[in-house]
Amino acid sequence: MAAEKFTTIIIGAGPAGSTAAYLLAKAGLDVLLIERGESPGSKNMFGGRMYSFALNRIIPNFWEEAPLERPVVRETVTMIAGDKSISLTFQEDNWATPPYHSFTLLRAEFDAWLASKAEEAGAMLACNIRVDDVLLENGRVVGVRAGDDELLADVVIAADGANSLITEKAGLRPRLSPRQVATGVKQVIELPAETISQRFQLTGNNGAAHLFVGSCTRGIQGGGFLYTNKNSVSLGLVINAAELQRYPYQISELLEDFKAQPFIAPLIEGGRVAEYSAHLVPEAGLHMMPRLVGNGILVVGDAAGFVLNLGYLVRGMDLAIGSGEAAAQAVMEAKARHDFSQRGLSVYQDILKKSFVWRDLDFYHQVPHFLENQRLYRLYPQLATGIAAEMFTVSDAPPVHLLGKIMAQIKKYQISLTQLASDAWKGGRVL
């Protein structure tokens, strides 16, 4: 069979791949978007929320047609130490009006919709196909191999996710090390929409996002999350893989423990688990970035490690969409110059460096190292909840001024003041 040749073959119909496919097809280029799942999104999972601005640039007012769950109006961060917890909550009701700051969503539906936009624009979508390798000719990527099929392209875009085998096979990245990634697990728990709105004190279809740190991961590096969807909540844990390598904890058991916590259990009572999912999450940001450009190949989205975890905020889909956009622009420029060599494609890096993707990852580049500090996951939740417990406890013991209460807790947990000041200073500087 004479192999068909495309201008671009994109491996993976997630947000990065479908964005690139949509923009390239819209510009009139012939694009093949390959997905190994039976439909786009059927292999994908995430915590639960997408920030809107990136997609709004590509598909203005996308919320009028995209399958979304709830616009998030409330952010809560909770520190947990045993049976004590302390939370910070922020609410902005304006976020429930256009241009909607962020949405919770479910990937099976959403990714299928975004890929369908690429198809409508003229991209060819091929599902149920696992790409096994890239095709090389004189050290240059000239297409992909899927089973016995060989498909040719001027340029291949690797959008195959966090555990990207393609970037490894193309020699753009060594194997992932456990420090660089986390494992995320999630349960989608179904509840009636009104029950969710009542329990979370939300008006109408407004949504809430909630992050947790502390004993939900038994004090090891990671955290918990809870997002409200329309008729379900997405509840999960994310734990650094190096910690999972070190400790004999079963993450699915930790999630069951988390569900039973007194501040979670009443929220999900009577719910029905509809799905249990797991995925790797890139954690090291620019420090785990593969070579983004090879001869005839570009890397986008999670495959490039484009995730930003600030502890109180997690971004991934907006960066994936932004990198897909940059890759599409780079392919169009390379096409205009008839140069798909590494040199011709290197414009991708230039475009990316001018985009919000690189700007933000670079701005926060010291955060991954900061978040390796073990004190954030055990000691500081103990300290914060300990101080709060002293503040809110009334008894027949003689009163102590706030500063005295704080100092007593610092002494109790044997925290060095210099260490605490240094951590606070570092956090303030890098976050």
């Binding site: 190994r36 799942g37 039976e38 999104g41 059927s42 292999k43 994908n44 999972m45 995430f46 479910l106 990937r107 099976a108 990714d111 599902c127 149920n128 196909i129 696992r130 096994d132 899927a146 089973g147 966090a162 555990n163 085998l165 194997r175 992932l176 090390s177 456990p178 990634v181 494992t183 349960q187 989608v188 728990i189 379900s232 893989a241 999972l244 390598q245 070190r246 400790y247 004999p248 904890y249 079963q250 993450i251 699915s252 058991e253 069951e256 569900k259 039973a260 259990a265 999900i268 009572e269 009577g270 719910g271 688990v273 509809a274 799905e275 249990y276 999912s277 797991a278 995925h279 790797l280």
Partner: protein, 94 residues
């Protein structure tokens, strides 16, 4: 809510089981030399277990996350691929 075992959680999911090809293959010799076997605990689906003194992997229920591949520190012990196109887990929510 009632506590669910990992098996119960997996039984809720939709899978298209591939009876012909195993996507993750272990090297018995290399695995035999590994003392800590972090795959036993790290796998979110709990698919690694000790049978007759040897570690074994059950591909049915795999969530395809890649955690086992990342936590394994013995090169060559795990030959890891994604399931063939169309097979494996089918997320209906994600």
């Amino acid at each position: 809510m009632k506590r669910l075992s990992t098996e119960q959680l997996l039984s809720i999911n939709k899978f298209s089981v591939d009876d012909e090809a195993k996507h993750i293959i272990l090297d018995r010799q290399i695995c035999g030399r590994c003392e800590s076997k972090p795959c036993r605990f790290a796998c979110p689906a709990g698919l690694y277990s000790i049978k007759d003194g040897e570690i074994s992997f059950d591909p049915v229920g795999c969530l395809e996350c890649g955690t086992c591949r990342v936590v394994c520190s013995h090169p060559g012990a795990i030959t890891w691929q994604y399931p063939r196109g169309g097979f494996g887990v089918i997320y209906r929510y994600g």
